[in-house]
Amino acid sequence: MKWKQWFKSPKAYVLITISVYLFIASWATHSIRGIENGGIAVGTAIVIDVLFALIKKRKRIMPDGAAITGLIVALILSLNTAWPIIASTACLSIISKHLLVYKKKPIFNPAAFGLFLSILIYHTEQSWWGAFGDLPSWYIPLLLIGGYAVTNRVNKYQQIFTFFMITFAMVLAMELLHSGDAFDALRPPFINATLFFGCFMLTDPPTSPAKPTGQIIFGILAAVVGTIVYGIYGGLMYLFIGLFVGNLYHLLQTRFSSKVTTKSRKEPRQRGMTD
C-alpha cells in the first residue's frame, strides 16, 4: 500500500486524529507524561503485533492497527499510571487481538479488552485524559469534529447515532426515575468518555457490523447494556461491557451469515448431483 493510499484509509484517519488529541491534551495539561505514556503503549503494542505477525508468517507487516490500539490505551489510562502497567495493558490488548479471533478478525475491540482486563487485574485508574476528560467542556467540539470525520470515513453513522440516542435517553430516564448517577454521566469526564468511545472504539470496522441494520442493533445492545451496568454499578467498565455484548452480537451475526452462505452455495451443487 502506498502512502497516498494509506492516508485515505480509515486507520490513517483514526491514527492521525487520536495523535492530534494526544498532543492537544498534553499541551493543555502542561505535561509531557501523556506523550511518554503514548510512546510506551504504542511501542509495546507494535512490538507484540510484529512478533505475532512473524509467528503467523504474514507477508504484510503493517502495525498501524497496533499503533491505534496503543494510543487509545494511553489516552484512556490515567497520566499517573506506572509504565509497566501501561505496557502490560497494551500487551494484553494485542494478545486478545491475535488470540480471540474468528476468521482471522478479532472478536472483541482490542483496546477495550485490554483496558477491561487492566481494571480487573491492576485496578487501573482510567481518566480518559486524551478525550479531554480533565479539561474544560469547550474541548468537546474537538472530539466531535474528529469523531464525525472518522465515523464518516468508516460509514458508521447509524451505529453511533443509535448508541448516543439510546444512551442519552436511558440516562434521562434514570434521572426521571431517580435511579443511578445521571448527573455525572452527562458531564465531563463521562460525556467525553462516551463521545470518544462511540466515535473511535464502537466504530472499529473488524469488530462491528457494516450493514445499517446490524449497526443499529449493535448500537442498541452496546447502549442498553452499558447504561444498565452504569445505572446499577457505576464505575468505569460499563462502556466496555456494552461494547463486548455488541462484539458478541457481531460474531454471532458473522457466523450465522457465513453458515447461510455456505449452505446456499452447497445446495445448488447437491441439487445438481441428485437431479
Binding site: S78, T81, I85, H123, S127, F161, G234
Partner: protein, 147 residues
C-alpha cells in the same frame, strides 16, 4: 453501501443533542448543589467537643469529631476525623462515591494516623481517589483549626 446523506446526519445529530440537552437540564435542575470542575462541596461539621481550659497552652486544633469532604470530577469521598489533644485519633471513610474501587484508598486512614497529616502518599494509578481522600481529611482538619 451508500453513505448517510448530510441532511440525515444533521437531523440525527440534532435529535441526539436534544435528548442530551433534556437530560443535562433535568440533572442540572435536580442537583444544583453539586459542583463540577474539581471544586469542593461545603464542609460539614458533625459534632464538636468542648474547648479546653484557658490556662493551658493553646492547642492547634479543637478536640472533636469532624466531617470533611473531598470531591473532583471522578466522584466524592467523605471522611470523619476525630481529634484529641492535637492528635488525629481516628479516621474513617464515611462515604465513598468515587467511580473507582474503594480498595485504592482502604489503607489511607491508617496512613493519616501514622503521619498525623492529610498529605498521604500518592498511590500510583489511584491519583483521583488519593487527592479526594487527602482533600477530605484536610477539609476536616481545617474545620478543627483553632481560629
Amino acid at each position: 453501501m451508500a453513505k448517510m446523506k448530510k441532511k440525515w446526519v444533521a437531523l440525527c445529530s440534532t435529535a441526539v443533542a436534544a435528548v442530551y440537552a433534556a437530560g443535562y437540564w433535568s440533572t442540572e435542575v435536580d442537583k444544583p448543589e453539586m459542583l463540577v470542575n474539581g471544586t469542593y462541596s461545603s464542609p460539614i461539621v458533625s459534632s464538636k467537643a468542648s474547648v479546653s481550659g484557658n490556662d493551658e497552652v493553646p492547642s492547634k486544633y479543637i478536640d472533636g469529631t469532624y466531617t470533611g469532604m473531598g470531591s473532583n470530577r471522578r466522584g466524592m469521598i467523605q471522611v470523619t476525623v476525630a481529634i484529641k489533644n492535637d492528635q488525629i485519633t481516628d479516621v474513617e471513610i464515611s462515604d465513598f462515591a468515587m467511580h473507582y474501587s474503594i480498595d485504592d484508598v482502604i489503607g489511607m486512614p491508617e496512613e493519616v494516623l501514622q503521619i498525623q497529616s492529610a498529605k498521604v502518599a500518592n498511590v500510583s494509578g489511584a491519583t483521583y481517589s488519593t487527592i479526594a481522600f487527602s482533600d477530605a481529611v484536610q477539609d476536616a482538619l481545617n474545620q478543627a483549626l483553632r481560629t
